[in-house]
Point group: D2
C-alpha cells in the first residue's frame, strides 16, 4: 500500500478525498491534517466515517507531515498551498494540489487573479495542470500536479474538441455555469445557511469570477490563439454537482452529426468522459458522486449556433476524485482504481 497524506482533510474537498482513499485498493491514509480539528479523530468531524476512518488529525505542519507518507493531496485554501506544496516537494514527495496556487503558467495572471504574490515561481514551472484527458503524459512524469478548478474542468472538457480544431468563432463563447452549494466550502456563512439557500437560486460574480482566467489560459493553450470567454456562475440549492451550458458560434459549417463525430472521436478512449445526446441530456444526478464528465454537443440549426452541456460533480471530477485520478496516473496504477463507481442516484 502506498502511504498517502491529506492536508486540509476536513474541508469538503479534503474530506471527500479522504472518503475515496479510505477504500482505495492501493493507498493507505497515514496522515490527515486539519487546522481547525487537529487532535480529534477524523470521524468526530465526519460522523459517517466512524469505524471507517478514525485516524487522529494532525496539525497543519507540512514539514512534519512529510515524514508520514509517500505522497500527498493538498486541499488547503488558495495562497496557503504555496509553501505547503514547496515543503512537501522539497522532501521529495509527490503532491496533488487542489488550490489555484500552481495552476497558472505565469505568476502574473495568478497574482492579478488571486491578489497575492507567488513565492515559488520555479516550482510553478515544474507543475503540470492536472486534467488527465489533456495532459496524461505530462502528469505521469511530474511530481507537482495542480488539480484544475471545478468550473474550468467542466468548461474546458466541453470546449476542447471544438477549440482545438479552431471551430469556434473568436469571442463568442459564453459559459453559463451552475454549481451546488458544496462549492462554497465548509464554513459558517449566513449566505449558505439552509434557510437562505434552500428554495433560492442566484447568479454571483457575474463578470469577474476567478476561474475565468484559468479557463482562458487553458483554452488559449489548446487553441494556439488567445481566447476570451464570458463566464457567469450561479448558485443552486443542491449539495454537489455542476452544469455548464455553453453558447458559441461556429466558425465553419457544422451539423449535429459532425458535432457528434468530433466529440466521440476526441474522447474515444476516455472512460471518464461520457458523450451524450440531446435525448439523454447531462444532469447533475448522473454525475454526482462520480468522476465522470458528461458532455453533450448540440447544433441549433435554426440559429446556426452551438450549445454545449457539460456536467460534473464539483467535489468529484472537479476536485477529489480527479485528484485521485491524477495520483493513480502518477503511480502508474489503473486510472479507475478507487474511483470507478461511486455515485448514488438517490
Amino acid at each position: 500500500m502506498i502511504k498517502v497524506g491529506i492536508l486540509g482533510a476536513t474541508g469538503y474537498a479534503g474530506a471527500e478525498t479522504a472518503r475515496i482513499l479510505s477504500s482505495h485498493p492501493d493507498f493507505e491514509i497515514t496522515a490527515a491534517a486539519s487546522r481547525s480539528f487537529s487532535g480529534k479523530a477524523f470521524s468526530d468531524v465526519y460522523a459517517n466515517m466512524k469505524g471507517v476512518l478514525d485516524i487522529t488529525l494532525d496539525p497543519p505542519d507540512s514539514a512534519g507531515l512529510a515524514l508520514k507518507a509517500d505522497c500527498f493531496i493538498c486541499a488547503l485554501p488558495h495562497a496557503a498551498s504555496q509553501s505547503a506544496v514547496a515543503d512537501l516537494h522539497k522532501a521529495g514527495k509527490k503532491v496533488v494540489d487542489l488550490s489555484a496556487d500552481y495552476r497558472y503558467s505565469s505568476t502574473d495572471v495568478y497574482e492579478s487573479t488571486y491578489g497575492v504574490s507567488h513565492e515559488y515561481p520555479n516550482l510553478l514551472k515544474k507543475a503540470v495542470y492536472g486534467l488527465p484527458e489533456l495532459y496524461r503524459k505530462e502528469i505521469t512524469s511530474s511530481k507537482i500536479i495542480a488539480n484544475p478548478g471545478c468550473y474550468p474542468t467542466c468548461s474546458i472538457l466541453a470546449l476542447a474538441p471544438l477549440v482545438s480544431k479552431g471551430l469556434l468563432e473568436a469571442d463568442t463563447i459564453v459559459i453559463n455555469a451552475v454549481s451546488g452549494v458544496s462549492g462554497a466550502g465548509r464554513k459558517a456563512n449566513i449566505n449558505y445557511q439552509f434557510c437562505e439557500t434552500d428554495g433560492n437560486f442566484t447568479p454571483y460574480k457575474v463578470t469577474g469570477h476567478r476561474h475565468t482566467t484559468e479557463i482562458e489560459e487553458q483554452l488559449s493553450v489548446i487553441s494556439g490563439d488567445k481566447i476570451n470567454v464570458g463566464f457567469t456562475p450561479h448558485l443552486a440549492p443542491f449539495k454537489r454537482g455542476m452544469v455548464a451550458t455553453i453558447y458559441a458560434k461556429p466558425s465553419a459549417v457544422l451539423s449535429q452529426d459532425a458535432l457528434d463525430n468530433i466529440y466521440n472521436e476526441y474522447y474515444r478512449d476516455e472512460y471518464f468522459i461520457r458523450v451524450r445526446s440531446a435525448s439523454d441530456i447531462p444532469s447533475v444526478k448522473a454525475v454526482a458522486g462520480t468522476n465522470f464528465a458528461d458532455i453533450c454537443p448540440i447544433y441549433d440549426y435554426r440559429l446556426g449556433r452551438i450549445i454545449l452541456i457539460s456536467a460534473i460533480d464539483n467535489l468529484g471530477k472537479g476536485a477529489a476524485s480527479q485528484a485521485v485520478q491524477n495520483l493513480n496516473i502518477m503511480y502508474g496504477l489503473d486510472e479507475k482504481a478507487g474511483i470507478g463507481s461511486m455515485g448514488l442516484y438517490i
Copy 2:
C-alpha cells in the same frame, strides 16, 4: 365584491390564483371548476385552504360556469382554453386566460408552435397580451387578456428597455433560464418525483422550447424588427421562482451608468419592477410568492457585452398574481390590490 370564477382551479396556477383571490379585498370567488376533483371541496385538494376556501368544485362546464360569476380566470391547459374562453366571452364575461391560446397575433405561429389548430381566429384578434408594464392601456379596454408565459414575462421585461431603443445587436441574444419545478404543473410524472428532482439540475428542450416564439413575437413588436433569440431552459430543485440570465452584444457604446439610467427611467413608475444592481443581484428568494420582477442590467467592460439578470416567481408574476394584476386593471382597481405583499422569505 366582484364575483370571480376560476377554471382549472386545482392545477398549481389555478390554485395560486384561488389563494390570492380568497383574500383579495374586491373579489369574491363564486365558482371554481376542476376536471379531476369536481364535487370535492377546494380545501380537500389543498389542505392549507381549509377554513379559508372550502367552496365545492364545479365540473368544467364553461357555459354553465358563466352564470356564476362576472369575470373569470382560466387556468386550463393549452388548447383546452380555446373554447372555454370563447364560451365565457360569448356570455359577456371578462376573461384572463393563462394558457398560450390567445397570446399570439396570428394563428400561424400559434399552430406551428403548439401543434393544434386555432378555432377562434376572430377572438384571437380581440385578445390583448397581458403584460401590464407594456400594454396597460390596451388591457383596460379589453375583455380577453392572454396572460403571458412565465419565461416570456421574465425575459421580455428584462430586454424591453434595450430592445425598444435598438441598443442590442441583432441575433446576439441568448437567454439562459432556470425554473422551479412547479412550472411542470401538478401531475404525477416520474421525472418530477422528489427522489428524481431533489439534488438534480438539468437543461431541457435546449433549442426548441415553445416559449421561444412567444418571446420572439413580443420582442419583434417592441423592436419594430424581427428578433430571434436563443432560449435554453433548465429545471432546478426549488418549487417556485425563475431566473433568466441573458447575454447580448450592444449595438452602441454603453456603460454601467448608461444601463442603470435606461432601466430606472424605463420602469420609473412601475411598482412591480425593481431595478437592482450587481451588489444586490436578483434571486429567487427575493421574488418567490410576490408579483415583483427584479431586473439587473450589467455591463461587462472587459468583453463589451451586456448581461441581464431577471427574476420572477413563475407562479406569481409568471402566472397567478399577474393574472390578478390584469383583473385589477380591467376593473379600474388599485393595481396592487390583493397582490401588494405576499412573499415569504423563509
Copy 3:
C-alpha cells in the same frame, strides 16, 4: 394606524413579524431595530422586502425606541429581552415579547431552565402567557404578553382538551416533535449550513430541551395537577413548520368518536385551530406561512392508546403571527386582521 416597533427585526422571527405587519390594515411600522444591521435599510437585509419595507434599522436602544411607537414586538434573544421589555413597559408601551423571559410564573423555573437570573420578578407577575385560545381574556387587559415558544404552542394546544378534563394517565405523555431549520434562528453556524442540513434528519437535546419546563408548567396549570412530559425534538430539512406526534394513555374508556367530539367542542369557536381527522392528517405544508394550528386526535383501539398530531408554523403560530394575533387582541381589533390568509402551498 397604530404605530408599532420591532426589536430584533432582522432575526427570522422579527423579520417575519415585520413582513406581516407591513401589510396589516391597522398597524404601521415606525421603528425596527437590529444590533447587527443598524443604519441599513430593512430591505438591504431582506431583499424580498425592497419597495415594501425600506425603513432604516435603528440601533437596539429600547429607551430611545420607546418614543417611536405605541406598541412593540420584542424579538430579542432570551435574557436580552428582560430589560428591553422593562424599558418599554416603563414608557407605557404595550409589548409582546417573543423570548422566554416573561413566560414563567416564577423566577425559579425560568432561572434553572435558562441559566440566567431574572431581574424583573414584579414584571414577570404582570405578564400574561400569550396563547390566545387559552388566555384571550387575560391578554385583552395585559400590557406585557409573553408569546409562547413554538414547541409549547404546538404541544399545549394539542393536549389541552384532554388534560383539562383529566383524561390522560399521569406520566405517560411523550411528545416527539420535529422542527424546520428556521427554529435555529438566523446565524452563521456550520450545523445549519445547507450542505450539513439538506438530506439530514436528527434528534437533538433528547432529554433536556428548555421548552420542556414551559410545556409542563402550562399543562400543570390546565390540569390542576403537576404534569411531567417526555419531550424529544428533532431537526428536519425544511425551512418552516413543526409537527408534534404525541403519545399517551387515556385514564378512562374513550373512542374515536369521543375524541372527535371533545376536540371539536373545545375548539368550536377558534378560527385558528383546525381539528382534522386521520384521513386528513396534519402536515407542515397545510400550516406553513399561516397562523393555523392543525390538530388531529387518534384513538388506537388495538393498544388502547391516544396519538395526537399537531402541526403549526414555528415562525407563524409559533412566533410572529401569534404575536400579531396577541397585538390584535390587545387593541380590540379583529383577531384575524393581517394574519387571516398568508400561507403558500408551493
Copy 4:
C-alpha cells in the same frame, strides 16, 4: 465471479442493489429484469450508470431468468415475489427476497397484514429472516433469505439488546419513525412529487402500518413473550435514510452506564452496528449510502424512561446493502465485501 441476477432491477431498491453489485469484487451481474423497461439498457433508466452497467433489461420471466445466474436478488413488490422466489428456488438458485412475502413464520399474520393469500407455505418455513446480526448462522445454511423491511431493521436492531434481556416493561414501547421519500418507491404519484414533498413533513398510517406486525413477530421471538408495539411512521423531505426514536419504560433499575455496556457488549463483534452516545447522536447523514446501523441508547433519569435512537439508510441496511450482506454470508465471503464503504456525506 459469481453470477447474480436481479428481479425488479429498476425500482429504487433493485437499482441500488445493481449499483452495489456492479462494483462488488465477487459478483458479476448477468441478468437484470424489469417489467416496465425490458429491452432497454439499465443505464437508459439510470443515467448515472452509463458506462458502468449497460446490461439490457430482461422481461420478468423468473423461470427463464433462472438460467442466467447462480443466485438472485428479488426486488419485486409484495405478492409478486411469491412465485418468482418459488421458481428460482425450484431451479436450485439462492435467493434474497426484498419483499415481505417470506418474512413471517406463519401464513396467517402475512395474509392478514398484506391482504393476499400465501401460495407457498412450505417454502415459507424454509426461509430465514435476513437480519445478519441476529440470524447469521441460519443465513449461512439457507437458500431463501427474506430481507427485513426497513422500519423493522431500524427498530429491531435498536430494541434487541434490551428486549432479549427482558429489560423493557411490556406494552410501553412506542416507535416514532421517520423515513426519506425513496421508501415510497419509484412510481409516479402526486403525493411524492417534488412540489408536494419538498418543505413538507407528515405522519402517515398512524396506527396501522404493515411493518408493525413484522416488528412484533421478531421482538416476540427475541423476547420469548408476545410483544406489542406502537408504531407511527412519518415522511420527511430527504431522499434516503431513516431514524427511529423509540420510547419505553425499563422493567428494572438502569443507568446510562448500564445501557452503554449492554449495547456495546451486544454488538461487540458487529462491524455494521455503531453504538453511539448522546453527544454523537445518530443522524441520517452518518448512515446514508452505507450499510451501517447507528444506535444510541439514552437513559432519561428525570422520568426513568429509556429513549433509543436508531438510524439506517432505508435503501442500504434497510434494503439493498443488507441484501448484499446476506449474499456475502450465504457464499462465505467477507461480510463487508462490496459494502464496506459507500456513503457520501455531502
